[in-house]
Symmetry: C2
């Protein structure tokens, strides 16, 4: 029950951050939407909005990292793994009414260079996702240097396509990049 409340507060926070960004999300809205008593919010998250945003974002990032690692683990078909990831992201975006994209993007764009722990979590997430992809590409036989630049391109294209898809309220941009990224990765493998 206690954990339920904590979880519900974090889920509500994650949703609001995706809908409205860091500055657009208020503690009052988190309370109203989660239905949690004010006391429990301060009990679980004495650090307030910063702590809530940090924990909600870290949790969403972990889930993405876990899925990426699983998909890239065997290294037999990295293009297929990337396509599967993009399909899953497209499904999540569609099911959320085109509001749930990447948990990191709205934080990065809302926070200036002065931001501390939250900005660090976002930097680490982008770095972790790139490393997971790069290692998968290397296991599949792509040279380290090319694998690194492919990894940057895959993360970038997915981040950007999530933005385009959200603006257009359509998953077509994600389908388009899935095809092109597949071509790029298969081309690197054929060398």
């Amino acid at each position: 029950m206690a954990t339920d409340t904590r979880d519900r507060i974090l889920e509500t926070t994650a949703g609001l951050l995706q809908h409205r960004g860091f500055h657009g999300t208020s503690l009052n809205e988190i309370l109203a939407e989660s239905g949690a008593p004010r006391g429990s919010l301060y009990y679980y998250f004495p650090g307030g909005k910063e702590q809530l945003a940090l924990e909600a974002t870290a949790r969403a990032i972990e889930e993405i990292t876990r899925i990426l690692e699983e998909l890239m683990s065997d290294g037999s078909d990295p293009a297929g793994a990337v396509r599967s990831y993009v399909e899953a992201a497209a499904a999540q975006l569609r099911e959320s009414g085109f509001t749930f994209g990447c948990p990191v993007a709205p934080i990065v764009l809302d926070l200036g260079p002065e931001a501390g722990a939250l900005a660090q979590v976002c930097r680490d997430a982008f770095a972790d996702w790139q490393r997971t992809l790069r290692e998968g590409f290397v296991r599949a036989g792509i040279a380290e240097r090319r694998a690194a630049s492919l990894a940057v391109t895959v993360v970038s294209a997915i981040e950007g396509a999530l933005l385009l898809a959200r603006a257009a309220r359509s998953t077509e941009p994600l389908q388009a990049i899935a095809g092109e990224l597949g071509t790029l990765i298969d081309g690197a493998l054929a060398r």
Copy 2:
């Protein structure tokens, strides 16, 4: 002089939107940073923050569209044109201390589906940039369907790499995607 004040207000608005998103930008900050008298702000922008954000974003979008159109106009080297665009974006990001990326991205992520004119301007911008690229690719000899999916991928990768670059405070992600996008476009031309 009058136009100077109007311009200064719009430039300040554009900067704040990039730094802190739509919800994080307030009229008071726009006044303080631009040094414009409150009266002139309401005189030029009776629609308040919505109108300011709309005009500042539309102006930044037009500038990008103009540069893209110029680069893609001759169609002899679309990969080179994309690389030049990415280099210009990287220079702007670096010169702004890693705060000035795409004017559209923070608006898209901050506004829900309920947003009206401002959301439409952002949708149109993504569509215009894709059309400009697609037409350039077609002029260079790439089939219409492939040109469309390449255009989505180029816009997506640039948007995403601007995010990664901002988070990492480094232009390396932009350099990486410039190379990969060049490979992809040249591969499509070679068919």
